[in-house]
């Protein structure tokens, strides 16, 4: 059992989420930075999809009743170094503190966080107030059960050659950048043709600052002078990574906990290999978008998946 001693800014339980339930208005959810979450799990010998703790900006303090092995990935903290499997004694307190570089830190515990599954997932569904153990972000006093680890110690990580693996230690070096400016790859569509002829080109040529209006559902970007001429669209299903543009020229990038339908046209969609970057971008950072093809997007994704032997 793990006791939450302090909750942090917005600390949630995440696993792979609930893909496939969007038809009932349920967001797929899952980690905002899936790569760091999968890496943290791999470091402690969990499945990439095991439930773990996602911390935002200010992390929680966790007290471990029994000895445990933990790993941190994603945003950097002063708690323990990212990228190592770290043993904790029974009774130890892990104070995550502030995320100093990047925005979200993942805390994986060997065995995984074993809160009950709801609709096939342990992840919090924020709008539905279910899952995640408590139907809300973690608070002081919450008790988190830890699952049974498999018998073997963490297996060595199947890292491709030349990818910055520090020798011997089973460490991930920083595979993904943690600070902006960010170059984020997009595919055109699905509603690029609802915009004016030059709008997509101007979209690609604009550096968009991230506004403070950013959470797990989406992040709003606003660049002075960016305006578009778009025709109205009928309410349509939307996906993670969709970049909606409002009539006032604000761009809203949808993240893991996105609403399932939307009424703003989507000028471009961030490829899944770059969703982790969106999960680490902070208000004030700038993002600029680069167009790639479907084939390039899928190659980029398989390269990242290759880290986990998938």
């Amino acid at each position: 059992m793990i006791e939450v001693v302090s909750g942090g800014t917005w600390t949630t339980i995440q696993d792979r989420g609930r893909p496939g339930w969007e038809r009932y208005g349920v967001s797929p959810g899952g980690p905002a930075d899936w790569f760091s979450a999968a890496a943290a799990n791999a470091l402690v010998g969990n499945d990439p999809d095991a439930a773990l703790v996602e911390c935002t900006l200010m992390g929680p303090t966790l007290r471990f009743r029994r000895e445990a092995t933990v790993a941190l990935m994603g945003g950097e903290t002063l708690a323990i170094e990212n990228g190592i499997a770290f043993p904790l004694a029974a009774g130890a307190e892990l104070k995550i503190g502030r995320v100093r570089r990047g925005l979200r830190t993942y805390v994986a515990v060997r065995g995984g966080i074993a809160v009950p599954r709801v609709m096939g997932s342990r992840a919090l569904c924020q709008l539905g107030r279910f899952g995640g153990g408590f139907g809300r972000p973690l608070e002081v006093g919450d008790q988190l059960p830890v699952g049974k680890a498999t018998a073997q110690p963490p297996p060595p990580l199947p890292l491709p050659k030349g990818r910055g693996l520090r020798s011997g230690g089973g460490r991930f070096l920083k595979r993904l950048p943690l600070v902006g400016p960010w170059e984020v790859r997009v595919m055109a569509g699905p509603h690029t043709s609802a915009f004016g002829a030059d709008d997509f080109a101007r979209f690609l040529n604009t550096a968009f600052p991230v506004t403070p209006r950013a959470n797990r559902m989406g992040m709003r970007l606003r660049a002075p002078g960016f305006r578009v001429q778009a025709t109205e669209i009928l309410t349509t299903p939307v996906t993670q990574g969709a970049v909606q543009v409002t009539p006032s020229g604000e761009a809203i990038v949808l993240l893991a906990e996105h609403q399932t339908t939307g009424g703003y046209p989507v000028i471009a969609t961030v490829i899944s290999a770059d969703w982790p970057l969106l999960g680490q971008a902070r208000p004030g950072d700038t993002i600029h978008f680069r167009e790639v093809s479907l084939a390039e997007a899928q190659r980029a994704r398989s390269r990242l998946d290759g880290w986990f032997g998938q």
Binding site: P19, Y24, V26, C125, T236, P237, T239, A297
Partner: protein, 209 residues
Amino acid sequence: MRRIVAAGDRALLIVFGDTMSPETLADVLTFEATLRRVKPRGLIGTVPAYASLLCTYDPGITEGASFQRQLQTLPVPPRRRLRRAVHEVPVRYDGPDLERVAQHARLSVADAVSLHAGTEYLVYAIGFAPGFSYCGVLPEILATPRLPSPRTRVEPGSVGIAERQTGIYAVASPGGWNIIGRTDTVLFDPRRRPPARFQPGDRLRFVPA
């Protein structure tokens, strides 16, 4: 005629038209039913809404281009009829925006209520938030623009109006629709299968309670 466009590297959007109509919705639902029966390899889920259908897929199982070809060549049967059964939704018409909606329509509150309750609606989508039911089409005279700034919390069961749509909030959420009443019908329960009370294609009638 349907048009298939990529929505990133893990989904395709199939667009069947650009208007809210029972025929287009029936096309969307016919295609969806076919897809759920055929179950192409790699298909994760389908999301129908108004005139389009999102199909999510796992690129680890099927390559995007071949998945798209499969959808393009899927033999689709003739348009299915929408279900005839009408669900009744009891509503207490006492919402905070009811008077304003009536004023906007230049009707008495009683007339606005009987017009809203006297119309049969089609569920065009379940979306935005868990179980939220988008219904149409609202009589033109009742059409009211969204609130200038959304409420931070709208209670579950709230019945709202936005332009030519009426809808029901299934869970507490922020929202910008004009709230005219509330129902005790439970619209979303994560333990139920399916978790949402209504589905696209269902017919609804609101009954003053």
